[in-house]
């Protein structure tokens, strides 16, 4: 059954390639090995789904898309190797990824040098166009500043948190969010009472939580990755500390709630994507994704790169495969409706600012609020 599908697909692809000759090579740089490989498969599956759809519909002006996949091991230094290979040896038309912010900041000059557009799902606000004016660099989803601004707003205005305590991780993803939070709370006249770090991989947060408790916090702001989120909520319950909890985007995913299904009930999160979103575009995407990938559920990066592939296809369809032209088109003209809604390049070179506030009800993330 599955094999058949693959076979048919392969034949279609082959026929397409044989019939039309030229293929358009695109690179995808993401982590597939080591501890950082959680995201790689989502990214690849999202992008590939879009690519197959586009090819099945006849490709771009009759030319098929071909995706070359590269592993960056979630390591900017490796990303620097593979992006060079993509750009200078494999001569791709565009690069998707890397997905890690520090890697993007490290390698984006190469895109400029090669005049090839680079579309990334990394979310740190540190490489907004206003700060790093690279005409070839684009972001496919809402950046973290957008999300944390919403998170803080919700925490103060709706949850009524007056003395927020923050627990955060040690990656750039967490630290960048922390910076934004530190700047945002004072705008509401609220001071963060304590900030404690939990390292990736730690399985005990007693010390940190006790410190927050002693600082008298009345709400927890969670800026960590999924596993640490699970550790944190589990231990909050153990210590019988009862405060509202609102977490960053890594808190709004099944990877977190699966690990702490009971303790996570009632937790709020700011999300970039919610699979139970009733928006028809989302519903269609989730169905297509599940059908293609054995019932696996998509996630935020999957939709971002899915959208990205359509954006790129749109650009190539209109201006051909010249990198500079594609970049110009993406920056000024590209405008499509994707899973995330309307995609259009803004002054930060972000295509969207969509995010959601949701609450976990023990099974799903119930959407409370969706912002564009």
């Amino acid at each position: 059954m599955k094999l058949n599908k693959v076979l048919v697909l392969a034949i279609v692809l082959l026929l397409g390639v044989a019939a039309l000759g030229a293929t358009i090579k695109i690179a995808l740089v993401a982590p597939f090995t080591g501890l950082g490989s959680i995201l790689g498969d989502y990214i690849k599956m999202g992008a590939q789904l879009a690519l197959e759809e586009i090819n099945a519909a006849g490709g771009i002006n009759g030319n098929m898309l071909e995706m070359l996949v590269y592993d960056d091991a979630a390591n900017p230094s490796t990303a620097a190797n593979v992006v060079r290979r993509a750009l200078f040896q494999d001569n791709v038309v565009a690069v998707f990824g890397p997905n890690m912010s520090s890697a993007v900041i490290g390698v984006h000059p190469l895109a400029q040098q090669a005049k090839i557009p680079m579309l990334v799902g990394a979310t740190s606000p540190s490489f907004r166009y206003t700060k790093i004016p690279n005409d070839f660099l684009f972001r496919l989803r809402a950046d973290d500043e957008v999300k944390v601004v919403q998170l803080v707003k919700y925490a103060v205005e709706v949850l009524g948190i007056k003395k927020p305590g923050v627990i955060y991780g040690s990656t750039d993803y967490c630290l960048a969010a922390l910076e934004v939070a530190k700047a945002e709370f004072p705008k509401y006249g609220v001071e963060i009472v304590a900030m404690e770090q939990i390292k990736e991989g730690d399985k005990d947060a007693t010390g940190q939580l006790l410190k927050l408790k002693n600082a008298g916090f009345d709400g927890l702001i969670g800026l960590t990755h999924e596993s640490e989120a699970a550790v944190t909520v589990n231990q909050l319950r153990q210590l019988q500390i009862d405060v509202p909890i609102i977490g960053f985007s890594a808190w709004g995913v099944p990877a977190f709630t699966d690990l702490a299904p009971e303790a996570a009930i009632g937790v709020y999160s700011v999300q970039g994507f919610n699979p139970v979103d009733p928006d028809p575009a989302v519903v269609a995407f989730v169905e297509a994704y599940k059908a293609r990938w054995d019932g696996k559920e998509p996630s935020d990066p999957a939709q971002a790169y899915y959208d990205g592939m359509y954006l790129l296809a749109e650009a190539i369809k209109n201006v051909g495969t010249d990198g500079t032209k594609i970049a110009q088109y993406l920056a000024t003209k590209a405008n499509i409706f994707g899973v995330q809604g309307e995609l259009k390049c803004d002054e930060h070179h972000n295509f969207t600012n969509v995010c959601l506030i949701s609450q976990f009800d023990g099974k799903d993330w119930r959407i409370i609020n969706k912002m564009f």
Partner: protein
């Protein structure tokens, strides 16, 4: 004569490579390979000759990289000065790390070196004002002459020359009273001391030398890549460095070079085309297989091959 031939061959290869191959990716990769070769050469010296284990070499690599980056970017020093400062700080750290080795043997020492690597790595992450922390350190100047940027090919020549220099220094030291003393210490501490040799000083020197080469490698990397982030300085990298030294051949001059270049290129050949999930498994299996079948490393085997093809005899000053 034969030695000259060998050296001439090596130099010729280094000179020709960038002329024959202008692919930016290949050159960049070879530059990284040379950097790793320099670092692994230091490890061959430290472990193969002096008998001290270090599983924290990425720590020195980081110190060299961030120091040079800091001094060139934040304090505006020229690149060579930055590199020298990077080496100097690494060497000092190396001296410091040699202190536990006076008392600690083998695996107790290896834990200390792991801890050292972890401490440096966590300092890199947490000393954000100096290192940029997990955000990374950006805008590190690339090699240039006057105000003309060098090409990757020219950089390759510089790195190649540095590597040859490092191996040459190690070669001379190995075939001197210092090298003999180190090999002796590797066999038997007490007997070496009884020969009137201070093993403490030898250990300090060996750690210093290896740290210096790692620092040099780090500094070279910083200016090659143009940015730094904590990821290339983890325990995983430290263990890769040791793997390079072992795969190349711990007790051989060429060990670091063969292992450093080999283990940099191997995963790059496999990282693509549907292999992206599997290549690390394959690479680690290949390394295991090499160790199982050739625990003495690839270096000596290549040396023999070279000897056979050029019909060279083994030199008669036998070093066992």
């Amino acid at each position: 004569m034969k030695k000259l031939l060998f050296i001439a061959g090596a130099i010729l290869a280094i000179i020709l490579f960038p002329i024959l191959n202008k692919n930016m990716y290949h050159l960049y990769l070879m530059n990284r390979a040379l950097i790793h070769a320099i670092l692994a050469t230091g490890l061959v010296f430290l472990t193969g000759f002096a008998g001290q284990i270090s599983l924290g070499q990425a720590g020195f690599y980081a110190i060299g990289a961030y120091s040079s980056a800091y001094f060139t970017v934040k304090l505006g020093m020229p690149i060579p000065v930055g590199i020298i400062i990077g080496i100097a700080i690494s060497v000092l750290a190396g001296f410091l790390l040699s202190i536990p080795s006076f008392k600690l043997k083998a695996f107790f020492l290896s834990l200390v070196t792991i801890a050292f690597g972890q401490i440096v790595w966590m300092l890199v992450i947490n000393l954000t004002p100096i290192t940029g922390g997990p955000y990374g350190f950006f805008g590190i100047p690339f090699y240039s002459l006057g105000n003309k940027m060098l090409s990757f090919g020219q950089v390759f020549w510089i790195f190649g020359a540095l590597l040859v220099l490092c191996v040459y220094i190690m070669f001379r030291i190995k075939h001197s009273h210092f090298g003999r003393a180190m090999l002796a210490m590797n066999d038997d501490d007490v007997a070496t001391e009884s020969c009137g040799i201070s093993t403490k000083r030898l250990k300090i020197a060996a750690f210093g030398f290896a740290a210096g080469l790692a620092g040099l490698a780090g500094a070279l990397y910083a200016h090659l890549a143009g940015f730094l982030s904590p990821e290339p300085f983890t325990f995983f990298e430290s263990s890769n460095f040791v793997a390079m030294a072992v795969v190349g051949g711990l007790r051989h001059m060429s060990g670091g070079v063969v292992g450093g270049i080999g283990l940099t290129l191997l995963p790059e050949f496999l990282r693509f085309g549907g292999w992206e999930n599997y290549y690390l498994m394959v690479t680690s299996l290949i390394v295991i297989v090499i160790i199982i079948f050739m625990p003495m490393g690839l270096g000596p085997i290549l040396e023999n091959l070279f000897r056979k093809t050029f019909r060279l005899k083994r030199s008669n000053t036998k070093t066992l």
